[in-house]
């Protein structure tokens, strides 16, 4: 195997900068978009899940390792901050829709955002989940940067929280579609709001596929849920579970 060291040298040269991770991520994103369209846009298999599965397989098989990969990919994920800010623009552009619906939004948000956490926590608690698992699941409907902060504050595991976020985001996109059809709701504003409130960024990405209006309401739902949960959950959790 005279070739083996050469390949390893090449890998370590490539992996010393962020470009390999960036190329892999961009490639996976494009392949995922293509596959998603190819399979008739299945809701249970959104592009983010396809891209992540492809990336995990390549990262594991190439010997690059997750640590190295995520160091490089941090150059891309740094853009999540300004992208979250960018969601404010469609929010403003759809302000006339939001003004028309501000009462139902304000009435629904505290109840729905609380229940998004309480349902899952209650079920996990009844099934005998440990405090660590409960603390990790609590911010499941909140957008990733906020959720990671909440999980840490409650003493949960950030990795498990991210896993819960992924599953919740995919499920929320799927369930909103079913439930809206079942309840005969065709209003993009309500559908978008439910997607953002329950499915954070994954639900919001899905909502922008439906229409700009749905996307704006998803941004609104995601932002409000994030702020509401971040402010109230640590406090509520302390009352409910004095010694996590």
């Amino acid at each position: 195997m005279a070739d083996a060291p050469v390949f390893e040298d090449l890998m370590s040269t490539w992996a010393s900068g962020p470009m390999l991770s960036i190329a892999l991520t961009l490639g996976a994103f494009m392949v995922a978009q293509w596959l998603f369209a190819r399979f008739g846009r299945p809701l249970w298999m959104p592009p983010v899940l396809i891209a992540a599965l492809l990336l995990a397989a390549v990262v594991a098989a190439s010997g690059l390792g997750f640590e190295k990969y995520s160091q490089g990919a941090a150059w891309l994920t740094a853009l999540l901050g300004p992208t979250t800010v960018a969601l404010g623009v469609p929010l403003y552009q759809q302000m006339h829709h939001i003004r028309a619906l501000w009462k139902p939004i304000l009435a629904t948000l505290p109840v729905a955002a609380s229940l998004a956490a309480v349902y899952a926590l209650g079920i996990a608690w009844m099934m005998g989940a440990s405090p660590l698992v409960l603390a990790s699941l609590a911010p499941k409907s909140v957008t990733a940067p906020i959720a990671m902060g909440i999980a840490e504050q409650l003493g949960g595991s950030v990795s498990l929280t991210l896993g819960g976020l992924l599953i919740t985001g995919v499920l929320a996109s799927l369930f909103v579609d079913w439930a809206a059809r079942w309840l005969n709701i065709q209003d993009d504003r309500i559908i978008g709001f439910a997607l953002g409130l329950n499915g954070h960024a994954i639900g919001t990405a899905r909502a922008f596929e439906i229409s700009p209006t749905a996307g704006a309401f998803a941004s609104l739902g995601m932002g409000l849920t994030g702020v509401f949960t971040a402010l109230l959950l640590p406090f509520a959790f302390q009352l409910w579970l004095p010694a996590p």
Partner: protein
């Protein structure tokens, strides 16, 4: 250049959001605070510039690309929680189904007749 100017505005608002988070001691991410600030600024100004609209459209269209790397990590901590995934799965599936129904029903109830107007805008 046009795109870059819009991008600069977004980055500056992100930095302002981080500053607000730090000085007000809020447990909310700088991105979300920046989003709130940008929305309010636009409401005050009453219009959005082409470069800002363009830059934000561009970034939002690659939202999935930016989330994917974080999601990859999930597959590498799978065995760390070997005993918990059953509970987690049931809680998330049932919990999310219930909360989606709750949100949609509440919105439909409260919005009432006002919600019938705009379809697929």
């Amino acid at each position: 250049m046009v795109m870059l100017r819009g991008f600069l505005v977004l980055v500056v608002f992100f930095l302002l959001g981080e500053a607000l988070r730090l000085f007000a001691g809020l447990p909310v991410s700088g991105g979300v605070l920046g989003m709130v600030m940008v929305t309010f600024t636009l409401i005050m100004r009453g219009r959005v510039s082409d470069e800002l609209a363009e830059a934000s459209r561009g970034l939002i269209s690659v939202l999935v690309l930016l989330i994917a790397p974080g999601v990859v990590g999930v597959f590498f901590v799978f065995d760390q929680f070997a005993g918990h995934w059953g509970t987690v799965a049931v809680a998330l599936v049932a919990g999310t189904l219930l909360s989606v129904f709750t949100t949609l029903l509440l919105m439909k109830k409260v919005a009432g007749s006002t919600a019938k107007g705009v379809d697929h805008g």
